[in-house]
């Protein structure tokens, strides 16, 4: 794991936006790092703390959005791009609110998704 990814993961819960507690500066950093941040996110995706899982989910989702052309303040380039992003998210099916078994299964699917995305 790169040092900058490690630092961002360690700071994942710090400085949450009061208007959007699911968003932290580290979430934004990890989104900017792209695919190399996905595998390291699997640990916080399985964390005991709900907010940590939520922040990790937002980071993973942001990486997917960006891969489909999403730009903050502009949105997705078109409906097809958003549909493609939703398809990726649905294929993994992770939710921070799910039980541990469901989350573990989703993280396995995430690893498979990552392998396909990196090809």
């Amino acid at each position: 794991m790169d040092d900058d990814v490690r630092r961002a993961i360690a700071a994942l819960d710090d400085g949450a936006d009061p208007m959007h507690l699911d968003q932290t500066p580290a979430v934004r950093e990890l989104v900017g790092m792209g695919l190399r941040a996905v595998e390291p996110l699997t640990t916080p995706l399985l964390a005991d703390e709900q907010d940590t899982r939520l922040h990790a989910q937002r980071a993973w989702e942001g990486i997917v959005y960006a891969r489909h052309g999403f730009v903050s303040g502009q949105g997705f380039p078109d409906d097809a791009a958003e549909s493609a992003a939703v398809a990726d998210l649905s294929a993994v099916g992770y939710s921070f609110e799910d039980g541990r078994a469901e989350r573990e299964a989703a993280v396995r699917r995430l690893s498979e998704w990552l392998a396909r995305a990196e090809r």
């Binding site: 949450a16 936006d17 009061p18 208007m19 959007h20 507690l21 699911d22 968003q23 934004r28 907010d51 939520l54 989702e61 959005y65 999403f70 903050s72 303040g73 502009q74 949105g75 997705f76 958003e82 992003a85 939703v86 998210l89 649905s90 939710s95």
Partner: protein, 311 residues
Amino acid sequence: MHERLGKNPERDEGVTPAETRAPALASSIGNRAMTRLAREPAPRAALAGLASVIGNRAMAHLARERDRLPPSPALALRTSLRTAERQILSRDLMKHHYVWKGKFQMNMKTQKNPGAKSGLMGTVTFKPDQTGGDSTKIRLFQAVRLEDLTTNKEYVWTGADAPRTAMQTAADAKKGIDPGWWIDINPAGLSKRTKKSDPRISSYYRDYWPNAANSKDGSKKGTSIAEASLWDYPGWNQNCRFSFETVAKAVDTGEIYGTVQWGFTISDAAKGVVDNEYERGRGGPTATTRQALKNLNEYYGNPGASTAPKK
């Protein structure tokens, strides 16, 4: 538009869950009325009359409480109503609200975390009705305010979030504008437009936080209707007050379908106390929300604003 709704408060404010009417009744009829109720020669008939006022669910709640209470009808009724009042001190926002051209459904659940961050988490959903115009894209934006109750001033945004403070409305009593409101956007990474060809800075919530697994944009074509929604999670670990007005708008035609105002207070963050929650529908945005939208456009130099680049 607002006057039309004002003449029909049932439609304006939506259906009130029965449970919330019980404490309202208690506070409205007062102790004297409660005493009269207790003296009522046919208390069962009096209680039956209550059903039409507070609803069946609240009546069922009263009945359950009566089974656990002393035999005095007055004491039983008064205590049970007080119990209901305590239960809604921290409540979810879950009502629906009929507005100008559709219906908002709130699904914001309280997150109570003593000593940590408390707030509300969930979705706000809008469904247009047949009276609304067709649109290929119906989206939500919202004006927001965050008051720091420790200082009794607006929360001051700094760093990348500083534009939130810069865009806030200034109080103008003549125009009915309240202070401290801005359009809920993520300013990080945004720049003011310097060229005519620069893209418009969006006011729509999902252009910053798509939360695509839990929310979506809507549309309407005749009887084919798709809901628009957003997912939100405001909260803090300090005493504060959050206020929102969420607006449903057709992107292509500019038509406003209605708004929902909602909010809550974190009155004792150390104990995770979330209270003073409210939610109500409106026909159209307040002057404050309209000004907040104007401020966003002026701040970023969006097309049509006085600050928009000419070249």
